[in-house]
Amino acid sequence: MSATSHATTLGTNWVGQPLPRKEDGPLLTGRDRFLDDIGLLGMAHVAILRSPYAHARILRVDASAAAALPSVLAVLTGEEVVRVSRPQRGRIPLPVSPQVYALAHDKVVYVGQPVAAVAAIDRATAEDALDLIEVEYEPLPAVVTPEGAMAPDAPILFEEVGSNILWHDTFPYGDVDGAFERADRVVRERVTIHRYLSTPLETFGSIAQFDASTQTMTIWGSAHQPGQEINNVAAALGLSPGQVRMIVPPMGGGFGNKTRPIYHILIALLARKLAGRPVKWVEDRRESLLALCHAADGIMEMEAAIQDDGTILGLKFRNIENEGAGIDFAGRHNLLMLSNIVNCYRVPAVSYEGYSVVTNCCPVIANRGIGKPFMCLAVERMVDAVARETGLDRVEVRQRNFIQPDQFPYDTPSGQTYDSGDYPEMLRKALALLDYDQLLVDQEAARAAGRLVGIGIACGVEPAGSNLSYGMLISGPSQLLSGQGEAARVRMEPDGSATVYTGGIESGQGHSTALSQIVADELGLRPDQIRIVATFDSHSHPYTQTSGNYSNKFNGHDTAAAIGAAGKVREKLLARAARMLEVAAEDLELAAGRITVRGAPDRSLPIAQVAARAYWSLNDEAPDDEPGLEALHYYRNPRTRAPDAQRRLPVQMGFSAAAHVALVEIDPETFEIEVRRYGVVHDCGREINPMIVEGQVHGATVHGIAAALLEEFVYDDDGQLLTTSFMDYLKPSSADVPMIETDHLETLSPWTPLGTKGIGEGGAIVAPAAIASAVEDALKPLGITVSGLPITPTRLWRLASQGGKRYPI
């Protein structure tokens, strides 16, 4: 696929330009309105009582003293929640699904699990009231590691499931046995990943208000997937989805984390009790770190069948995923890892065995890249292991196994079709970006001087847009949810400007600016003439069950929906102008605010004049026409499908890629790790706004670096989380990370209207692998290999002082 083969029919003036963002004004001046900035008359404030135990039976809850406190408006306990609401099921229906309610009732299964809630006239009073609630617990043994949870004598979290293994399956793709028979040798690796989280700076929150006369619940809430949340709340409360109005104010970051329907249900239940009074709850940071969600930790065992020249013939994976005590996202990490299971490499046969195991840890939800950072880490560690075992250079092993530019579109064994890419060139460019040859020379000199300097190399695909049919791998073909799409409505106003509504959500990615550039091109306008109504409201915005801001889906699905709707408006506009100018619509051109007869520049009309007639002059209409210039478009990705007989399916739909090169230095005494330089060459197809793309690469990459070196949720054996503030859960500061140096390729996707592919998750997918590679390279003089994250000075020092050779111990 060459960079110029995709011809777009658009004017394409604005797409591709690094325009400053239209979102910035209110954010810079403090005039934005995040969720916690919303106040309504009579609003009640909620505080939540949380379990101090990781696993315990609840014997008694007495909230009478709290309820009697003046200024307390309502109290909710698990017993009442079970009476007045219906339980939640996971997003992928499991064969045996635990019953989960918004509050614990018979037992608690993780520290921080909500047990009771108080609504009062202010937050401080609500928190005071929590102290008056008496809960009697019978502590039970807890289990925090997935291997521990799989042991025969492990305490069982959900008795109705009968086991802590929620799901287990094996997917053989291609001739795996044959590959291993033909192999010159087999390389084995075991790689682990820990729990971490992107921790949006704005915490999660929900405001609910119930209109008893119409039985309508309005929720202002943090949400990535409004369609799903509306359905969750409606199902729990026994309402029609049409009786739930969801409004999603701009979010102060999300990264997938703000997907916790139980909290919206809990606040909605309180709002229903207080019929009419708005009820607000915003999580504090401790609650967030303790109980919002974590990315799953996992243990991956792998085998690679290889030839002596480094060619990989087949891969076997066995992954144990710690889902924590949650069912919401059970199985998702495992299944999404099928999307990048061969990463950038031409591996014809793979098998994947996955376990989803519950433990007494915080439930797992989506986090930037969900599952794919671990798969990328695993494959890249394996590729480095292959280089080690064969004595070949790690760049050479990668070049040997890369999918080649002329092989696109490329079908992977698990059913993904990679749309475009040039991985050999991408890696070459990344090495050149940091002047790899010179780095090698410098490294040799530094090593001779006793310094530990390492160069990390990692490549990775960045899948984008999901085919939610992947749940059928667990729940079977009867699953209602399938495919993925997005909805958009475009209205050209009577003054010739345009307003856009989509089911997407804004949480910092600059979607409004990007959509303005796209729609401006489609309608012959300037981006400042396009208005994006960024605060999603289910009463005004079109949406489907798959709508929202997740799955890295904007570039493939949201853009297609907006282009579809704008295209329909364009057609209506041109048809009307054609009548006014008495020519055929095909003979008209739309540019710079005017509609002109092709080849006759003096015969033209301002767009605004045509738009005004569309709304004001209803006598213009032919009998079958409709007035106005508004159109709705529901886009669905036409390439999504159910699993085939071999259980292959495209789990994700578009494939960006990146090569990362990292330079680290480790203090030989303290083992402190400094990232000295960091380079990324990425390829997301056409860049709608290169400035925004670069920002996404920076942020995601730094998050990946921090996940590898700083961030870690630590549980003790009793299931107590030890990292509940930003003093122990370490986020990177500006002083901890270097400038991210970037360059890019543009291999256009043949399947999206503009040739775009996803951007935003890739940095976080590839960086952990690059850091592991860099640290291992730095430790080469000590003969230490790296098979797990995070890499911390204390653990490294301990390993080295014991003469250990494999990190972690």
Binding site: P20, R21, E23, D24, G25, P26, L27, L28, T29, G30, R31, D32, R33, F34, D36, D37, G39, S71, A124, T125, S198, T199, P200, L201, E202, T203, P250, M251, G252, G253, G254, F255, D284, R285, S507, G508, Q509, G510, M691, I692, E694, G695, H698, G699, A700, T701, V702, H703, S725, F726, M727, K731, S733, S734, A735, D736, V737, M739, I740, G763
Partner: protein
């Protein structure tokens, strides 16, 4: 609920009064009593810096101060940098041009910390900017463009300070940045 205390505070150059519980944080006072919701709260335990405001020209974490502690003091919040909400302060302009914000939740704290940084050190190096901002977390940008924006703002000011040297007020020490104001000066 305990007794209320009356406090007088200059907020963004305007004298304001409040009646607060002694336990009310400065952040809650600004957000809820003054309606200045541009000051954000990201951790409430003094690490993230989202709540940073200037008190008498010095950056403080408004989540860690009680409102009663700023009685008779001068407070500058992000709203004070752009009183009309439209005209951008040069530092805000630099953040805009360099894409130094994504979700924007950290931005008010970043702006006020940068304001103090550049006032104290008008021509910082990249390392000095990184160190100066190390108390403000951003989860979105990886800091690259924030650092670039602050360096650019410093450059811009160094340039304008030299071209406009003749018009500087008498009390400005040489090399100072006359246009980085406290709340009182803005009013």
């Amino acid at each position: 609920m305990s007794e209320l205390t009356t406090i007088s505070v200059t907020v963004n150059g305007e004298p304001r009064e409040g009646r607060v519980e002694p336990r009310r944080s400065l952040a809650d006072f600004l957000r809820q009593d003054m309606g200045l919701t541009g000051t954000h709260v990201g951790c409430e335990h003094g690490v993230c810096g989202a709540c940073t405001v200037l008190v008498n020209g010095r950056s403080v974490r408004s989540c860690l101060l009680f409102a009663v502690q700023v009685n008779q003091q001068d407070v500058l919040t992000v709203e004070g940098l752009s009183p009309d909400g439209v005209t951008l302060h040069p530092l805000q302009q630099a953040f805009h041009e360099h894409h130094a914000l994504q979700c924007g939740f950290c931005t008010p704290g970043m702006l006020l910390t940068s304001l103090e940084l550049l006032r104290d050190n008008p021509a910082p190096t990249e390392a000095e900017v990184r160190l100066g901002l190390a108390g403000n977390l951003c989860m979105c940008t990886g800091y690259v463009n924030i650092v670039r924006a602050v360096l650019a703002a410093a450059d811009g000011h160094a340039a304008s300070a030299s071209t406009a040297a003749g018009s500087e007020t008498a009390e400005s020490p040489p090399g100072a940045l006359p246009r980085f104001p406290t709340g009182k000066e803005i009013a």
